[in-house]
């Protein structure tokens, strides 16, 4: 983390409205997590208590205090996906990547996360990788998709 970078992000958001969330989003994007030190800077610059920022950072699933992997695999456990076998799909992902949902691989390549309804239930079961949505994928097809992302493709 780089102090000047964080200050620059803050400076880019002069409008008071929705400032905190927008700034945290950018920091999260840049460092793939919210470093404690960055939150301290934001708190000091904006005059928002660290307590509040911690509350926001832990409330929204989009933020994390631990570094996330380079690629974020979000598996939907919403109602429709649940019915269509999200559990099996998630288990297969866990096996293939070798971590549990909520964890990040040791090499920092992948993070597996469970999310609620990605908003395209008709494609259930759904998962997304770095925002790219995959629908109707069977557990057996998981290795193939993973392979694409491992090879640096996918995007």
């Amino acid at each position: 983390m780089n102090t000047a970078e964080v200050r620059e992000i803050i400076a880019r958001h002069p409008e008071p409205e929705g400032r905190v969330a927008a700034i945290l989003e950018e920091i999260q994007k840049k460092y793939r997590h919210l470093p404690e030190e960055a939150l301290r800077i934001v708190s000091g610059e904006l005059g928002v208590s660290l307590t509040r920022l911690y509350g926001v950072a832990t409330f929204y699933a989009a933020f994390s205090l631990e570094p996330k992997g380079e690629h974020l695999i979000s598996i939907c456990h919403g109602t429709a996906c649940h019915v269509k076998g999200a559990k099996n799909l998630a288990e297969r992902w866990e096996r293939e990547v070798g971590i549990k949902e909520g964890q990040t691989t040791a090499d920092g390549m992948f993070t597996l996360e469970a999310v609620r309804c990605l908003g395209c239930c008709s494609l259930a079961p759904v998962f997304s990788i770095d925002g790219k949505t995959y629908g109707g994928v069977k557990p057996d097809q998981v290795p193939e998709v993973l392979g694409e992302w491992k090879g640096g493709g996918g995007r």
């Binding site: 307590t51 911690y54 509350g55």
Partner: protein, 247 residues
């Protein structure tokens, strides 16, 4: 403006909520997350009343309900009573031994606690009083974190409360006794915030007075240089000495 409370027409005298009007009228409405000195929060729902007319009908929290002309409210209807009982039963499942909750249960005629307690022991019912009082009177050392079943009150990063000044306001307002401060020698510790503070002593008699940070904080907020560093007893002595007998 007038509203109708339990069939009686009562004036609104600048109160911001129906709860306040009811209290002024001497009507008892149970509350857990309400404190007259703090912004309303509407978390515990114990203060529910039944709106019969003049607003959106049904059950609603009176601590966040602004009075409106022609509002007709029942504070103790069968529906209200039934719902309050369930709420207290749920609370009992979590914090069975808290005296304030027990007293509430007694007053509302709740005998059974049919709900199963959560697996891990809890003392906090997430009423948010400590959070709001820390924001208002203290130093925003604690706040809500996480969400859903994980929701809890915590200092930032779950570490020891670095911004705690030891005012103990949180322990004072907590309805369940989940917050505890203890003073031993020159240390004041506060749980579950992991607060650990230096205690200042009376500059005259040497008795432990209060957390040093609290005194510093108070000095910045109130202008009252006379009593600096003196315990209440020494303060009284000082004032008494300064008063001269006439004749």
């Amino acid at each position: 403006m007038e509203i109708t409370l339990n069939g009686k027409s009562v004036p609104v005298q600048g109160e911001a909520t129906v709860l306040e009007v009811a209290r002024r009228e001497g009507i008892w409405i149970p509350t857990l997350c309400h404190h007259p000195g703090l912004p309303p929060y509407g978390a515990c729902r114990l203060c529910i009343v039944e709106v019969k007319a003049g607003g959106r009908q049904g059950l609603t929290a009176s601590c966040t309900l602004p009075p409106a002309e022609g509002l007709v409210v029942e504070t103790d209807s069968p529906r209200v009573r039934e719902r309050r009982k369930v709420l207290v039963q749920l609370l009992l499942a979590v914090v069975r031994d808290a005296p304030e909750i027990r007293e509430l249960a007694r007053r509302l005629g709740v005998e059974k606690a049919p709900f199963k307690p959560p697996e891990e022991k809890r003392e906090c019912i997430l009423c948010g009083l400590c959070v709001r009082v820390c924001e208002t009177a203290g130093n925003s050392a604690i706040g809500f974190a996480f969400r859903g079943s994980q929701r809890r009150v915590s200092p930032p990063f779950g570490k020891a409360a670095a911004d705690c000044i030891g005012c103990r306001a949180c322990a004072k307002v907590c309805p369940t006794g989940a917050v505890r401060f203890e003073q031993a020698g020159d240390r004041l510790t506060g749980e579950p915030w992991q607060a650990d503070l230096q205690v200042a002593r009376c500059t005259s008699c040497g008795r432990p007075l209060a957390a040093r940070l609290l005194l510093d904080f108070a000095r910045k907020k109130v202008v009252c240089s006379d009593f600096e560093g003196l315990c209440p007893a020494c303060r009284r002595r000082k004032v008494a000495r300064s008063v001269k007998r006439r004749g």
